[in-house]
Symmetry: C2
Subunit: 390 residues, 2 copies
């Protein structure tokens, strides 16, 4: 329970004002008269509003951020009383469900009322974004508004990629909670646990330590490594010689950590030990390469050189780390072709992986925040040698 510190949830009005100023600056750069937002993360970023009702796809929620002035909320009546507690002043509602006009007519007049400087607004229609509204309604909206709806995702990511201090505090907090839970996990694991049992031990500990939620926790085991890292846990019993890979995206106040750990059961092999050590050093190289002015490709190369020297079979992950924040994964990606320039206050994963033999993969992962002089590690570094569960 050592993580139950008094980091308050929620953000101050000056925090949202700071975000809005940054947004309006970026909007001018991208020649946008406004932003149309529909996803929980983007709405939360600009308003602080969070809802359990995101889980129900019935009702869309909208926020319009104008090029000047405060964001405007357009929300189903069921959310009105709580939305009024945000720093927003202009909140419009409609009685939902109402499929024939699920907020679209209010959205139309709100968008048409925006000051038209550039004649276009940005929506979440591009990079690593999926709108949370029926596309049919977006088509309808495009026809009835007197402005162009263009891709606003690059503008949105440009803001969200650089974290404020208050955002960093939350990410550090959830990283600390998960780090401590991972650290205590070996004492709770035993040969004969199923993958699901092992995962639940960690999940419950993370909840008890003060996390809000655990939306992401794959747990996969295999002899000397795992064949994949995207599905699981299953009811497979973990046996002598297995390696258990657990990854987690747990959240505090909406913000994610994203890092994994590996545990050997019973015994290990010199090959596993060697691969684990290579990845540990690749992680170091990635952390050292992650500094303002470097590119995501530089970070990739620093890790990839060490992995390649270690005779990897391949890696189907497609990248060696990425951004994180209100989402488990956010731009940029450490991979050839991304070439984003690293800036102060980006929060990134450093995630080298190796398939060292067919179907035997080991992946390491740590989280860092970029400071003026380089990366600050915000996870408690994985042990240099793979922990062995007896």
């Amino acid at each position: 329970m050592q993580n139950k510190i008094n980091l308050e949830r929620g953000f101050s009005t000056p925090e949202f004002e700071e975000r809005l100023i940054k947004a309006q600056d970026v909007m001018q750069q991208y020649k946008l008269d406004g932003l149309l937002l529909t996803t929980p993360q983007n709405i939360r970023y600009f308003t602080g509003y969070d809802s359990q009702f995101w889980e129900s796809p019935t009702r869309p929620w909208f926020v319009v951020v104008p090029a000047s002035g405060k964001p405007i909320g357009i929300v189903p009546e069921i959310g009105e009383s709580e939305f009024k507690k945000t720093w927003l002043e202009d909140i419009k509602t409609w009685p939902s469900p109402r499929p024939e006009d699920e907020g679209i007519s209010i959205l139309k007049s709100t968008i048409n009322d925006l000051k038209k400087t550039y004649g276009q607004i940005g929506a979440e229609i591009g990079k690593e974004m999926a709108m949370r509204m029926p596309v049919r309604d977006l088509f309808k909206l495009k026809e009835i508004v007197k402005t162009n709806i263009v891709d606003g995702s690059d503008a949105i990511w440009e803001m969200r990629m650089i974290k404020t201090n208050a955002e960093v505090e939350r990410i550090k907090h959830i990283c600390s909670i998960a780090s401590d839970a991972y650290y205590d996990l070996p004492s709770k694991l035993k040969i004969g646990d199923t993958e699901r049992e092992a995962v639940n031990k960690l999940k419950i500990d993370i909840i008890n330590r003060g996390a809000d939620n655990v939306p992401f926790m794959p747990g996969i085991s295999g002899k000397g490594g795992v064949s994949q890292i995207v599905c699981g846990p299953s009811d497979k019993v973990i046996e002598n010689g297995d390696i258990l890979f657990i990854d987690t995206g747990s959240t505090f106040d909406g913000y994610f950590c994203d890092f994994d750990r590996n545990f050997a059961f019973g015994s290990t092999t010199s090959e596993v030990e060697k691969v684990y050590e290579i990845l540990w050093h690749a992680t170091d190289a990635g952390i050292n390469a992650a500094k303002p002015g470097a590119s995501t490709f530089d970070i990739f190369n620093a890790m990839n050189k060490i992995i390649s020297d270690g005779n990897t079979v391949g890696n189907n992950v497609g990248r060696l780390g990425h951004g994180l924040g209100l989402q488990l994964t956010e731009p940029p990606s450490h991979r050839p072709g991304d070439n984003t320039i690293i800036k102060e206050n980006m929060v990134l994963t450093i995630e080298p992986g190796m398939e060292y033999a067919n179907g035997k993969m080991i992946v390491h992962e740590e989280n860092v925040i970029i400071r003026k002089d380089g990366a600050e590690l915000i996870t408690k570094r994985a042990p240099k040698e793979i922990p062995i569960i007896k």
Copy 2:
């Protein structure tokens, strides 16, 4: 731990064949040459494939269901090995992330290869659906495929609204787990708990009893009722005279329950007792009205009559229940204007609520499966009198 029965996760190939036959029948009715699927729930419905990686928005996943023949998977390389374990035979991959062509060129050729009978395919662009892909890529796709992409949501909901026996089994199982956890909760609650502490007690118990996940668990308290049911829990301390409302959408093998419970702390008032009783009877009326041949409006009316007689101030929820299954809420909605005809094997919530005084709301909820002769209750009925936590 009494719910840890041996209901296996995952479905048999005959189950998917049955779903496919139903789908292809509906597709013919809607004159569709295929379905383009992107959401976790729709992909899981047709393939059984589940992934922790849905949580990362970086990579889209696609399934095309042709009017004849088996579904085709188009998935990022990272998911290939696990996707190959599904009953699908035709699986195409691309190295992702690759934002300049995130699966779109393979999707194009797959769609163009479909037999063209009607010249149109259905996508998740309508009712209560949001596509899980960048809309920009959908625009691009619309331009490069030789078929029309139209709204397929009505066709998809027509299938998914009627549950198979195997689906019903899973929903019943998670309802049973949550019912037992709710039943045991009063012994764990105490005056002075925060809303968050109360919620976590239930959440951890539900996980320990064998649920896979708890994506939805609002917990809100207030004097004599709650002012809203969409946000929370917070760190508010629950005091004498408060009512704690907890709702949960927990999952087993992808399938949701969705029902709530109310707990009075310390003492209660005759007004609360009366409202609770009215809602208990309204629930009864809703359950009795839910039978094949009735409409969602009939179910609404049966409950609404009792609520109106009880002098409700209003209800901003906009409906008195809905469908559930792979999603927390699915069509239909018990509300004026919906008018869906109830059929055998629909799974529905019966959810009457009353704001009996300004800011004081109580909501009841149970889940039923529609049988030939009427509704079968699949939650353990809320107690007839509100439980009081001393």
